[in-house]
């Protein structure tokens, strides 16, 4: 997979990082580095998550009770902190997904209005 140059990568939209993290953890517990890689890989390297945003976000989500953190050992036999979704986190993910599609839909209507009088 060719890597887009840095300036073609998209900065994350304000407020979407929490949702992306929750969504990524639906696949199972993961450590911070793994979450960053997963978001990058699933977006075909278009989304770049800065470590400086990722870790504070993870801690914020733990504080709110949406994630739980536990120390474990990575595939590479390295001690790492793993994050997993809590029940409250799953509920939150559904809410955020819902809101996200509403937002995309709303913005889509403004940007690409249906020509009037058709249908």
């Amino acid at each position: 997979m060719a890597k887009p140059p840095d300036d073609q990568r998209l900065e994350l939209l304000q407020g979407t990082l929490d949702m992306l993290i929750l969504r990524t953890l639906q696949w199972g517990p993961q450590h911070g580095h793994g979450i960053g890689l997963a978001i990058r890989a699933r977006s075909d390297a278009l989304l770049k998550v800065e470590t400086g945003s990722l870790y504070p976000a993870l801690h914020r989500l733990v504080k709110r009770g949406w994630l739980k953190a536990e120390w474990g050992v990575s595939e590479a036999h390295q001690r790492a902190k793993f994050y997993r979704l809590t029940a409250a986190g799953k509920a939150q993910l559904l809410r955020e997904q819902d809101r996200w599609s509403q937002l995309v839909d709303a913005i889509g209507r403004v940007m690409n209005p249906e020509p009037a009088g058709k249908e």
Binding site: Q14, G15, T51, K63, R64, Q78, A80, Q92
Partner: protein, 360 residues
């Protein structure tokens, strides 16, 4: 529930270790894997501080992503005001301000640093959060201001990068990335040569001879550790320089370069833009603490000095504007050239202050 500071360090260390391991498995050599992982991670201290502050402050309610956009708009408004600029002083090689985070980096680098008394070495940047300018390098006039007022810092070293076309040394002509430094840089950084000498204060100034130091990596890889390299003449773009020495193996900081040369090798560094333009910020600034001075003392002093020079400059600028305004011919004055179809007085000037005032 709040994680202990050690816990945060462990988490960062784990991240770096995994990232380094993956790079090595992909075929990178351990040294460059470590550096790349650190570089990718970005500012360790800042990240750690924001992780900590999550637990310290009550964060606004979660689901409020749109609220964040509103705050963004507010920030954009504030930007117009140009909020207080400040100077940032940290321990250089800790890539951060305290011993704990330093041990994280050192633990990952897995080797002692060669820099003499590295805990006396500081790294200085400037920030103006109000205009979205964080963690900026300096212009030479700004560095002059800081240097002339500091007593807690015994010596300053500056470093900027240029690309040179390098010819000579019996290798193919090539573009090299070079550091351009002042004569106290290596002394401030506490580094030594393995061959010859490093750049010193005699290499300062526009009348000095061109002098270049090769980094250890460049010397070993491109020149096969040629022991006769010292004293040879090289061409760097339009200028010539003598290879005066080879630097010991060290963390390539602040940037990885192939050679490090004195100011006279770079026409740009001698030019008016570099020397006089206050906004031409391309230079990294390091300092070595004066005996007995602490990082905190240096931070306090440099912050105050920085604020004072900025305030003084603002004052001068206002004065200059006032003088200029007075010199403009008054169209009502007898004999003054009268422009036809002049717009009503006052209409030309935009009410620039209106927005921030209204927002208050």
């Amino acid at each position: 529930m709040r994680p202990h500071d050690d816990d945060l360090d462990d988490e960062i260390r784990g991240h770096l270790a995994i990232s380094i391991k993956e790079r090595i498995e992909r075929g990178e050599d351990p040294a460059s894997a470590r550096l790349a992982a650190l570089k990718e991670f970005g500012n360790l201290t800042l990240t750690r501080d924001s992780m900590r502050s999550v637990w310290r402050y009550g964060w606004l309610d979660a689901a409020d992503a749109l609220g964040r956009d509103l705050r963004f708009a507010l920030r954009a408004l504030l930007r117009a005001r140009g909020l207080a600029a400040t100077v940032v002083v940290t321990l250089a090689l800790g890539i951060g301000a305290n011993a704990a985070i330093f041990s994280v980096v050192r633990g990952v680098l897995l080797r002692p640093l060669v820099n003499r008394d590295e805990d006396r070495l500081i790294y200085i940047r400037q920030s103006a959060p109000g205009i979205g300018a964080e963690n900026m390098t300096f212009s030479m006039p700004e560095i002059g201001d800081i240097e002339s007022r500091a007593t807690t810092v015994a010596a300053f070293g500056d470093f900027s990068t240029v690309d040179f076309a390098l010819t000579g040394l019996g290798i193919e002509p090539r573009m090299v990335k070079a550091g351009v430094v002042n004569g106290s840089f290596f002394d401030v950084m506490g580094l030594h040569p393995v061959l010859g000498r490093l750049i010193n204060r005699k290499d300062d100034g526009k009348d000095a001879e061109g002098a270049a130091v090769l980094t250890y990596r460049f010397w070993t890889t491109a020149l096969n550790s040629d022991p006769t390299v010292v004293g040879k003449t090289i061409r760097l773009g339009v200028r010539t320089a003598t290879v005066v020495g080879v630097l010991e193996p060290s963390v390539p900081y602040p940037t990885d370069t192939e050679i490090i040369a004195n100011v006279v090798t770079s026409p740009h560094h001698l030019g008016a833009t570099m020397v006089t333009r206050r906004t031409h910020r391309m230079t990294e600034l390091f300092g070595r603490l004066a005996p007995g001075a602490t990082v905190e003392a240096a931070r306090a002093e440099l912050t105050a000095a920085y604020a004072a020079t900025r305030a003084a400059r603002r004052g001068r600028r206002r004065l200059r504007h006032r003088v200029l305004e007075r010199r403009e011919p008054d169209p009502r004055a007898v004999g003054a050239p009268r422009r036809r179809a002049r717009r009503p007085r006052g209409a030309r000037r935009r009410p620039r202050r209106a927005a921030p005032d209204a927002a208050r």
